[in-house]
């Protein structure tokens, strides 16, 4: 998606440099918005097709747990228009999506937006704290571990690989057993309190932190080889100041892109954590909806996730555009 940024080279007109910069930013956002619409259309279409390709008829899966008369079965099929030709269903569906009408969930029997609105704040809160922890922890860890001594670097790298390899549900249970069931520091259920947010955040942030730390450290080590470091050192800058002010800024660029991607994937990826910690959330809603072929819910959640994903990525690109002057000069973004 970031390729789009390469398309509009910033006009290198000398006199109106500030104006050009503003125009560049506006154009950047516009192009990204257009691309986003395409991404969203793709997401809803692919979802529609995948749900159709899944084995088992929607009506059969929907009514699998029930004893209903053939009349009620026929009525449900008619009401949800499951007997219409595929293209009619697709057209009707696309129309509803555009108008923002997602209708009622087949299974939960309530308006889809109500279901999502009730759960979204819980998921967003968890994602927010996770991103925050990931950012702070990985910056600190990367600064500490970007050491020229080889054994320090490789032991950090080994620890990161280990953390990435941990299944999140297992890590979650481990944290629960230790800090909730044994030490009684945090509640295992009743997730609405700030204390209830601590363990799920750690469990969810562990793997992203490990990945981002690795990328950041690599960036720092590379930046330390750059000529400007020698210049800065020759001016007598202290090592901590050098790392935080100059080197980190370079290393942040790939890490920011990565964080954007992680943030998007967390919406659905939180499902395991939501189950282990009995949290309300979109992930659990999505899992339940997919198992039940509850199309209105699945489609709304996919669209929501896609919107968040796209919005975060635009934000990241703008952020990079702001952080890194080079992307403004050349239209490149490092």
């Amino acid at each position: 998606m970031a390729d789009v940024l390469k398309a509009p080279p910033a006009p290198a007109v000398e006199p109106g440099r500030a104006a050009g910069r503003r125009r560049g930013a506006a154009r950047l956002v516009l192009v990204r918005l257009a691309a986003s619409a395409a991404v969203l259309w793709g997401a809803v279409t692919v979802t529609f097709c995948l749900l159709r390709l899944m084995p088992g008829g929607t009506a059969d899966v929907l009514l699998a747990r029930s004893r209903v008369s053939p009349e009620i079965r026929a009525q449900i099929i008619a009401e949800y228009r499951l007997d219409d030709p595929l293209w009619v269903q697709y057209a009707a569906y696309l129309g509803r999506v555009v108008r923002g009408e997602f209708g009622d969930s087949y299974v939960l029997r309530r308006p889809v937006w109500d279901e999502i609105a009730a759960r979204l704040p819980h998921t967003l809160l968890l994602i927010l704290t996770t991103l925050l922890v990931t950012l702070v922890a990985s910056v600190l860890l990367a600064l500490v571990s970007a050491n020229r001594r080889r054994w320090v670097r490789s032991s950090f790298a080994a620890a990161e690989s280990l953390v990435v390899a941990l299944p999140p549900f297992w890590l979650g249970l481990l944290l629960l057993t230790l800090f909730s069931f044994t030490l009684h520091w945090f509640p295992a259920i009743g997730s609405s309190s700030p204390m209830g947010l601590v363990l799920p955040t750690i469990a969810l942030a562990a793997a992203p932190t490990a990945v981002v730390t690795g990328v950041l450290r690599q960036g720092i080590l590379q930046a330390l080889e750059e000529p400007f470091v020698v210049t800065a050192r020759s001016r007598g800058i202290g090592e901590p100041a050098l790392r935080v002010r100059h080197v980190l800024r370079h290393a942040m660029l790939p890490a920011a892109t990565l964080l954007g991607w992680i943030a998007g994937s967390l919406i659905g990826g939180a499902v395991i954590i939501e189950i282990v910690f009995s949290r309300q959330g979109i992930g659990r809603l999505m899992l339940f909806a997919v198992q039940n072929k509850d199309m209105p819910v699945v489609i709304a959640v996919v669209l929501l996730t896609a919107v968040v994903f796209v919005a975060i990525n635009i934000a990241v690109d703008v952020l990079i555009w702001l952080i890194d002057p080079r992307t403004r000069e050349t239209g490149r973004w490092a």
Partner: protein, 551 residues
């Protein structure tokens, strides 16, 4: 995941409601354990809040709409029924003080209890009963179970405020049993006029508890005592308002998390623990396991009697005799579950114990039966063959938690010379193959508080097909003699007559080996010792009406 889902099969249920515990592999299913001590020691005390963690929530709270066991369990505290069914299957007055049934079995007249009010202030009377029954069968309700429970219902009319007359299209001896379930519970007529989706979140009844905030999805439901409650069924253990001031139910889908929440004192009681956890708790001081056998059909393997090698009754007989089912159950569930010896579990009203001897282990007889059926050859792997074809049975899994049991059965079948191929498929494929009859074995349990459940699982009308959709006769069993018995049972004059006919059905099914029952699932509540007098409803779901807390 409870092994038993009252009134619905386990397999298709896993398709739909299968929680992610499945994905976590930790999903040990099946509650278990026999009741510990802590029955009524000490003087009952009023007040207090019971914190309960349950494994799953209904997708819709309203039991008129929802078919799930969890909807029944969570609405029983809120809703009363016209009649009360005890654990022996007998019926007692509740909101109806007495009733008469016309000689042709098609007209039921109920005298209603006076002075009963719904917790929203509405009066309970004949008009309310008519409104409820009409709500259940209203197509807009899209009832997934309740309407089919009273499929014979024709109409109801108000005779006077305290008398209601219900007409059936045909005699139906299971009608009272249906009325006793929460699925036909009485909801405030005022709420029934609203949208069905509002009822999915909140219902109002006349029961011992109210839930002012209703069901909060993925979170739970909080109950508050109804202080005006004085109409508990006389046959139930506790009269008057409940002792507990509040019950806070939290949905905790993950089994180990529920267990940890209980042992660390974050909740007072939990449902649906695995046999392993039950075993651990029984050895842990400070905790009590309350349990009762789920009435209905045991957890069973359902042979496809319509096609494939199991359409031969001798092969089915050989499978029943040649595998030591009782020993396998002991190995897998540490003695927590009883091995099953009949198409109904012993706690089911109308259970016929005379069929038990037919379920004895007899490997020599099994070998002889297989020889007789023509499976005389042996291939290189030691499996029996007929005309060069191996005796292979494809077992379609209802959900992933059956793995331990399936592996043991597979090993035992191998010793018999029978190969079982274990197939754990996705929900949609499961449904497709179920409808096509493309399997030799399917496993499921099916709990229900009466022998009518036999009709659900062995009635020819309930064989799953493309036209009919998912249904429960997974053995695809079609025996005219049994069909005739089912018809007679529906028109039976009294309980004894009904049970006699269903006993005959159990014997026929045993002769035909239309099911390979394995164990009787248990409904369990594991609680700290301070939780006293946990009860169970007729359908096996836990009841907290009499429950009190020592502290």
């Amino acid at each position: 995941m409870g092994a038993a889902r009252s009134l619905r099969p386990r397999g298709p249920a896993a398709v739909a409601a299968g929680t992610a515990t499945l994905m976590l592999i930790l999903a040990a299913g099946c509650s278990s354990g026999t009741g510990g001590p802590a029955t009524a020691a000490g003087t009952p005390r009023d007040g207090g809040t019971l914190r309960l963690a349950v494994e799953k929530e209904p997708e819709c709270l309203d039991p008129h709409q929802s078919p799930t066991e969890s909807a029944r369990m969570l609405t029983r505290p809120i809703l009363d029924s016209l009649v009360y069914q005890d654990s022996r299957g007998d019926f007692h007055p509740w909101l109806a003080t007495r009733w008469t049934i016309s000689p042709d079995g098609r007209k039921y007249t109920f005298d209603l209890l006076g002075g009963v009010t719904f917790t929203d202030g509405e009066k309970f009377d004949a008009r309310a009963v008519v409104a409820n029954l009409d709500h259940v069968v209203d197509p807009d309700t899209k009832s997934l179970l309740a309407a089919s429970l009273i499929a014979a219902y024709d109409s109801a009319k108000v005779v006077d405020p305290d008398t209601v007359e219900i007409s059936l299209k045909r005699p139906d001896s299971s009608f009272l049993g249906a009325l006793a379930l929460p699925n036909l519970g009485m909801e405030s007529p005022r709420t029934l006029k609203g949208s069905p989706s509002a009822l999915c979140a909140k219902i109002v009844g006349t029961g011992p508890f109210t839930a002012p905030a209703g069901l909060v999805p993925q979170k739970g439901i909080d109950y508050v005592r109804n202080p005006a409650y004085t109409w508990a069924p006389a046959a139930a253990s506790k009269n008057g308002p409940p002792r507990l001031e509040r019950i806070e139910v939290t949905v905790v889908p993950d089994g180990p998390a529920r267990m940890g929440a209980l042992t660390s004192g974050q909740v007072d009681a939990v449902t649906g623990l695995s046999p392993t956890s039950i075993g651990t708790l029984k050895r842990t001081p400070g905790f009590t396991v309350h349990s009762t056998g789920f009435p209905g059909i045991p957890y069973s393997y359902w042979p496809n009697t319509a096609k494939g090698p199991l359409s031969d009754v001798n092969v089915r007989k050989a499978l029943r005799a040649g595998i030591d089912w009782q020993q396998i159950v002991k190995n897998v569930y540490f003695g927590v579950y009883e091995g099953a010896k009949g198409p109904l579990s012993p706690s089911t009203p109308g259970y016929d114990p005379s069929v038990a001897p037919a379920y004895a282990y007899d490997p020599a007889e099994a070998g002889r039966l297989l020889d007789q059926a023509g499976w005389t050859g042996r291939d290189a792997a030691g499996y029996r063959t007929k005309n060069g074809k191996r005796l292979t049975l494809r077992h379609l899994w209802s959900d992933g938690s059956v793995a331990n049991l399936a592996v043991q059965i597979q090993a035992a079948a191998k010793r018999l010379g029978v190969e079982t191929v274990e197939e754990n498929v996705d929900g949609g494929t499961f449904v497709n193959r179920l409808l096509a009859g493309d399997y030799e074995l399917i496993d499921t349990s099916f709990s229900s508080p009466g022998p009518e459940v036999l009709r659900v699982l062995f009635g020819a009308d309930n064989i799953p097909t493309r036209e009919r959709g998912v249904n429960n006769n997974m053995a695809r069993y079609d025996n005219p003699r049994v069909e005739e018995d089912f018809r007679r049972a529906l028109a039976a004059k009294d309980q004894a007559d009904r049970y006699r006919i269903y006993a005959q059905v159990q014997r026929t099914i045993t002769e035909d080996v239309a099911v390979l029952p394995i164990y009787s699932p248990l409904s369990t509540v594991a609680a700290r010792d301070g939780v006293r007098q946990v009860g169970f409803n007729a359908d096996g779901t836990p009841s907290f009406h009499s429950t009190w807390l020592t502290s």
